[in-house]
Amino acid sequence: MNIMNEFAAHKRSGTISDTRVKASFGSRLGFGVLYLILGILAVIQIYPLFWLFLFSLKTNQEVFGMSPFALPQHPQWANYPKVWSQGHINLYFFNSVWYTVVAVLLTIILASFVTFAITRMNWKLSRFVLGLFIVGLMIPLHSTLIPLFNFFKHVHLINNPLSVILSYTAFNLPVTIMILLGFYQAIPREIEEAGVMDGCSVHRIFLRIVLPLTTPVLATTAIINMIYNWNEFVFVNTFISSDRWKTLTVGVNNFVGQYLTDWGAIGATLMISILPILIAFLLLSNRIVEGLAAGSVKG
């Protein structure tokens, strides 16, 4: 929906600017070639996913006997309920959902507290502490894996969702704080001054005045965090060995390893694992674009 509206809006604004530009035949040809290239790139970016969807609906005879580009003759929708219940995919799916939700909430709460204290309050070490969080962006998480594994083993958190959720939260704090930072810095000081005049405590200023102002950017950080957590692989693969607590990425990977030759089942599992993200993208593409751009470049 969202994308379509924008497309329409662009078409409209495009026609206006076109009347200003004197389009010669040569430049129109040039634009045609450019559109062709952009269109081919778009097909390259999307077609593999469409192909995945196609083979998720095929039987093995179709996969092995016919052209990979052929449409499924009798779409095997049954592949989906089959993998959902047989391959533990339902269990993995709900694990992914609640790990993601808890980690996202924890991350944006902690990050909001820190960003408020760093940007709005006066203390000596604030620059240094901010630095600690920002440098976290450059740290390769693989360098922490062995000590983390050892630590979680000692505190009996191996095969416990807490190990995964704490790791997600810690490693997503830097990028979340970075996105929040610019927004907090833009909030005028007068708002807090008014709060202080009215006799508000600092907690009241934060919770009742500043935090509600940040809802739009919180939505952006939440969706970015959601994508990262949903797709995370290494922590779960390392800290969780029991099927009970695996997430969809790791579960799907194991499943595909076991059912090497059943392409329909593999396709259906992969589709289930990417569908929530694709739906979120259709609904919230603007926020995702904004969040990814903001989280990467401000540093």
Binding site: E6, V114, F133, S143, I146, F233, V252, N253
Partner: protein
Amino acid sequence: MKAVMSNKSAIALYVLPALLLILIIIYIPLVLTGYYGMMDWKGFAPMKFIGLDNYNKLIHDSMFWKSTYHSVLLGICSTFSLLIYLAVSMVLASRIKGANLFRKIYLIPMLLSSVAIAQLWSKIYDPSNGMLNHLLTSIGIQNPPLWLSDPNIVLFAIFVPIVWQYAGFYIIIYYAALKNVSEEVIEAATIDGATPWQVASRIKLPLISPVFKVTIILALVGSLKYFDLIFVMTGGGPNHASEVMASYMYGEAFSKYNFGYGSAVGFALLLICLLMTWLIRKLTTSGEDVQY
């Protein structure tokens, strides 16, 4: 005002939980990795201090240097692919209808997990039923490559889905930067008779160079950290032909249970990442940033 906003206990309450978390999950483990690297520590046996033996072994470990070389190679290729993304962004940011739609379509692969991408591309590369070789044979190529099982091209075969995955990410960054270039500057130049090519090369590119530098760091350091995609697609194989630093470290630690040596590799990975970041900063901040 000042008293309220420098309330020490409130600051501690707000900062300490998150700070403790990143210290415990990120910073203390980083130090410990360096320390564990000085241990003889295999499997479930207790660790024993052996000084710098592991690091000494690392320096002479041709497998480690091979994986480092692969990581750096992927990093350099990724950096060059930035130029393609930049070119596409410049086209999109000029008068193109539906630019917003295009950049959103390009972004879609970036949203998928590396595991899903790796599984999907393993199927695309499948020698007998995959879509790529089918396409190649149908246009007349007799013996299409075996992609993931050919040691000579496996790294290239892995690089392609990386480009596919990250294209949209860099394009939205460049697009945003290009759209930030002030219209007035461009208009003034056009009135003075600058061609579109001159506007692009003399005005737009210099103005977005700070963003370009950041993306070089992202691409290079990001490449040094590549793991998920390679781990799932090839596991570093065939015969270590696609081994990278992170997968080598992971294999040493969690397949062979060489925790001591794995830690040394992990620490080297950290140092190389930090060194690379510092080096690029150093190399790219020499010139003054351009302003108009």
